[in-house]
């Protein structure tokens, strides 16, 4: 019937032309009448009570509209991770601290006519601290019973997820292997630092413009905190300059909203890189201890993972995230006795928070390092060991007892081994010179939405305009991943119209139907399915209205190439625009549907990555010289963006493995505060990433599509670490693998 399909094509992001011309308006580019600027004074000590704080000089500076500290802001405690109504998480944070708990804690804020005046006023604030003992590491925080970062002690939470009986299985086996690994605290590194604009009118209430991931969550959080009616708080999602989870929580919104209300005007709160890096959230650092028991036949009877998660100074999501990591650990390998136990520990470090993969990258990296060590120490093939245990299509995961869907991780591994010419490269004799090459692989996977946890609901309003174009009103949030174009493709495909005739709107809490937000890799799978069903309902409505208008039975009308025809009467053709216009005038109807979709499945999106590393044993520098990523994506909607997501994830993952860390000294002072000392991979250091996309479909996503953005990060670190260890014959597992650590390992091994 249809000439061509847009699914699987190559499309730029919806606003690519605005972006290449510099015309796209990000939050920091916005101007409001009489807009004021807020600048924050951050703590430069890690743990102390604020003894005195004198703001009198700052207040007197001309152009200053207000100065706020713990003295004149609420002492209400909140948690910036809480989004939906009924969600609970420890509320342990104040808007402005009376006791600072990390370098970067908020001490005071100035609101002024210009950013310069605000900065100048900050320098006039005089703070004295009463120092408290500082606990920069999880070991110190657990050992020191005398010092509590919060009243309840330094152990924030614990989790245990288990299938089978790990203890007995390990006791019965002689061949027990243990590894430890450390996955560091990292900065999300979105190129746009955090920013929020809030405006208050006594009659209109609050309006908040923010590049957030969940506008309704921000509204719920801010309205609750400020005790305002929901109808008086409007949150509008703005163009986002990257997030990677860093903008998932309400980092700046409650502050900007409070300030706008306090000064009864517009307040622009824009963080610089240092504030973004230290004072929002970091990717959570984890310490892992993994044990496994291997049978004589080379099968893993047990895998036991113990995790310590560094919550940092405030709880935010650190109860939920380590638990979520455990759930992800259950979804990759079928091992009869599998246990994950975690503890979340408060420290005087920047707070941990949501990061691409939500604990999955951390725990799967630990597992994949472990798998390689099991293979190596037992003289087994790492491909074979994994293949023996990887999950299979349709398998029910034993902990959550839900299906993993059409899980094709085995096919990813098989295809990748072939494409990468794995065996030839893995079996070649070790290099002995200055430059040594090795190859590594790792498997990984991620979720598709929230099913079997949180409610996973999307609502969309799709209407046909009087010229036949369409508007899809949603509460989604494009982070720069091509979300809007994906939804436009889905609607265009179902209704057989050109892609540019579908406009997709983003979240505005006053006008959008409810959606949970851009979390947990749910957008393509859940929101995409909602758009797909909404489009089918509009298709049906067009037929229904056309049938009435043409006075034909509905069974006689059909759609072809974006218009309605009557069977047997080739001269009759009604365009969508004609139907929509006539439906209004003749039928008193709109050609529109409000559609709700509640997700009821959660298949895995899987991938297997292959890296070749070249290590300079003189300097300890590592270069990634070849890279292949094979992914089980269900169905490709937009090839360009799927590839882009994978290549971007590899960039992040190589940095995660080799260079990136927000490390602290013994006073919990961070070593890096900007991109001079926090090194992300740049263009010359980035390998060409070959991608192979497997399209088995079969699950509930639109046209069979599954998630990719988070799944793509999960295997990277394991593949790169394993490649370095293969090149050097080492067992490195404390990330990042800096030149220093590599050279130290080589000298310990007494290599030249």
């Amino acid at each position: 019937m249809k000439q061509s399909s847009c699914i699987g094509g190559e499309y730029p992001v919806h606003d690519a032309w605005q972006k290449v011309t510099g015309q796209q308006v990000y939050t920091g580019d916005m101007q409001r009448p009489h807009m004021l600027y807020a600048k924050i004074l951050f703590s430069d000590v890690a743990h102390a009570d604020i003894a005195t704080i004198d703001t009198s000089q700052a207040e007197q500076l001309e152009g200053v509209a207000g100065v706020f500290t713990h003295h004149n802001t609420p002492d209400t405690l909140f948690n910036n991770y809480i989004s939906y109504v009924g969600q609970s998480a420890p509320e342990d944070e104040r808007l402005f601290a009376d006791r600072v708990r990390f370098v970067g804690d908020r001490v005071a804020v100035v609101v002024a006519k210009t950013p310069e005046i605000a900065r100048q006023a900050l320098r006039l604030i005089d703070v004295t601290y009463t120092p408290l003992p500082c606990l920069p590491t999880m070991e110190q925080a657990m050992a020191d019973k005398a010092v509590s970062i919060h009243p309840e002690g330094n152990l924030l939470s614990q989790a245990e997820l288990a299938v089978g009986d790990c203890d007995s299985a390990i006791k019965e086996r002689a061949n027990i292997l243990e590894t430890t690994s450390y996955i560091p605290r990292i900065h999300h590194g979105a190129m746009e630092p955090h920013v929020c604009l809030a405006e208050y009118h006594p009659s209109e209430g609050l309006c908040i413009w923010t590049p957030c991931q969940g506008a309704f969550g921000v509204r719920n959080m801010v309205a609750r905190y400020l005790k305002m009616p929901y109808c008086d708080v409007r949150v509008i999602k703005t163009v986002t300059g990257g997030s990677f989870g860093g903008k998932q929580q309400s980092m700046l919104e409650p502050i900007a909203a409070f300030l706008a209300k306090a000064v009864k005007g517009s307040v622009m709160l824009q963080y610089d890189r240092e504030a973004s890096m230290l004072s929002t959230a970091v990717g959570t650092a984890f310490q892992f201890h993994v044990r496994s028991a291997l049978s004589a036949e080379g099968r893993l009877d047990a895998l036991d993972i113990e995790a310590l998660a560094d919550a940092g100074a405030y709880a935010t999501n650190s109860v939920a995230l380590p638990f979520s990591a455990g759930k992800k650990a259950m979804r990759l390998y079928r091992i009869p006795n599998l246990r994950y136990r975690s503890k979340s520990i408060y420290t005087n470090a920047p707070a941990g928070g949501g990061l691409r993969g939500w604990g999955g990258p951390q725990v799967i990296t630990a597992m994949e390092i472990h798998m390689d060590q099991v293979a190596k120490r037992n003289n087994m093939c790492p491909v074979r060991l994994r293949m023996e245990h990887l999950v299979t299509p349709g398998e029910v995961e034993h902990y959550s007892k839900i299906s993993l869907g059409n899980a094709r991780i085995r096919e990813c591994l098989t295809e990748g081994v072939e494409l990468f010419k794995w065996y030839r490269r893995w079996e070649r004799p070790a290099d002995t010179g200055r430059f040594r090459r090795g190859v590594g692989l790792a498997c990984g996977g991620h979720m598709n939405g929230y099913f079997n946890g949180v409610h996973d609901v999307s609502n969309m309003h799709l209407k046909v305009n009087e010229d036949g174009t369409l508007i899809l009103n949603t509460a989604i949030h494009d982070q720069g991943c091509g979300t809007l174009i994906s939804l436009a493709l889905i609607v265009a495909e179902v209704l057989e119209v050109p892609v540019p005739s579908v406009r997709v709107l983003e979240a505005d809490t006053h006008t959008s139907p409810y959606d949970m937000g851009t979390y947990s890799s749910r957008v393509t799978y859940v929101c995409g399915r909602c758009a797909y069903e909404a489009a089918h309902r509009v298709r049906d409505l067009l037929l229904e209205q056309a049938a009435v208008l043409l006075q034909k039975p509905k069974a006689y009308v059909y759609i072809q190439e974006g218009a309605v025809f009557v069977k047997g009467s080739s001269d009759i053709r009604m365009s969508y625009g004609e139907i929509a216009a006539l439906a209004q005038t003749k039928l008193g109807q709109e050609t529109a549907v409000l559609h709700g979709y509640s997700n009821s499945s959660n298949p895995g999106s899987y991938g297997c990555h292959f890296a070749e590393a070249e290590v300079d044993v003189y300097t300890g520098l590592v270069r990634i010289t070849d890279y292949l990523a094979v992914h089980d994506v269900g169905r490709v909607l937009n090839r360009t963006m799927v590839e882009g997501q994978i290549q971007g994830a590899v960039q992040m993952g190589i940095g995660y493995t080799l260079t990136e860390e927000v490390a602290l000294d013994h006073n919990a002072v961070p070593n890096a505060r900007n991109f001079d000392k926090y090194t992300v991979i740049n263009l010359p250091d980035m390998p060409q990433v070959r991608t192979k996309l497997l399209e088995y479909g079969g699950d509930d996503g639109p046209f069979g599509a599954k998630s990719i953005g988070e799944a793509a990060l999960v295997p990277v670190m394991g593949a790169v670490v394993n490649a370095v260890n293969h090149a050097l014959g080492t067992e490195l597992s404390v990330l990042p693998l800096t030149p220093k650590k590599i050279v130290q390992a080589l000298w310990k091994g007494k290599l030249p």
Binding site: E10, Y11, P12, V13, D15, A16, W17, Q18, K19, V20, T21, G22, Q23, Q24, V25, Y26, G28, D29, H188, G189, A190, M191, E192, P193, V239, T240, G241, G242, F244, D272, R273, Q479, G480, C481, G482, T640, M641, E643, G644, I646, Q647, G648, A649, V650, Q651, M652, N674, F675, D676, V680, N682, L683, P684, M686, Q688, V689
Partner: protein, 156 residues
Amino acid sequence: MIIQFVLNEKPCQVDISPNTRLLDLLREHLHLTGAKEGCGIGECGACTVIMDGNAVNSCLVRATQIQGKKIITIEGLRQNGEYDRLQEKFVEHGAVQCGFCTPGMILSAKALLMHTPHPTLEEIHRAMEGNLCRCTGYNKILAAVQDAAGHGEGET
């Protein structure tokens, strides 16, 4: 103080404090917001503009330093309604995701192609090494620049 310079091929005069950063002059005073601030210390390249044919971090340039200079910003790249070839290739190759780094990326590439129309891979690497991107992994950005260069940037 009064500063005269050429902005996107048009003469421009501003009265401004000499310590003002070029980035702030562009964004706050001239409302050209294509240049972005990603780090403020010349490490990320999001604020890149072209000054007398060379890519510079506008966060590190003071207003006094642009006296008599020719400045090209992303807003000036489109000539008479025609997109620059780099802009077209960035869109075509899907080299744009969140887009925050994009103006700087394009201008670093533009400065390279202005004086080296057919750069080697190493020359592209050197020209682009100061521009960070967190979304794309650079592969498509590199492809876009190579494609633009391969078609003879600067020729008509």
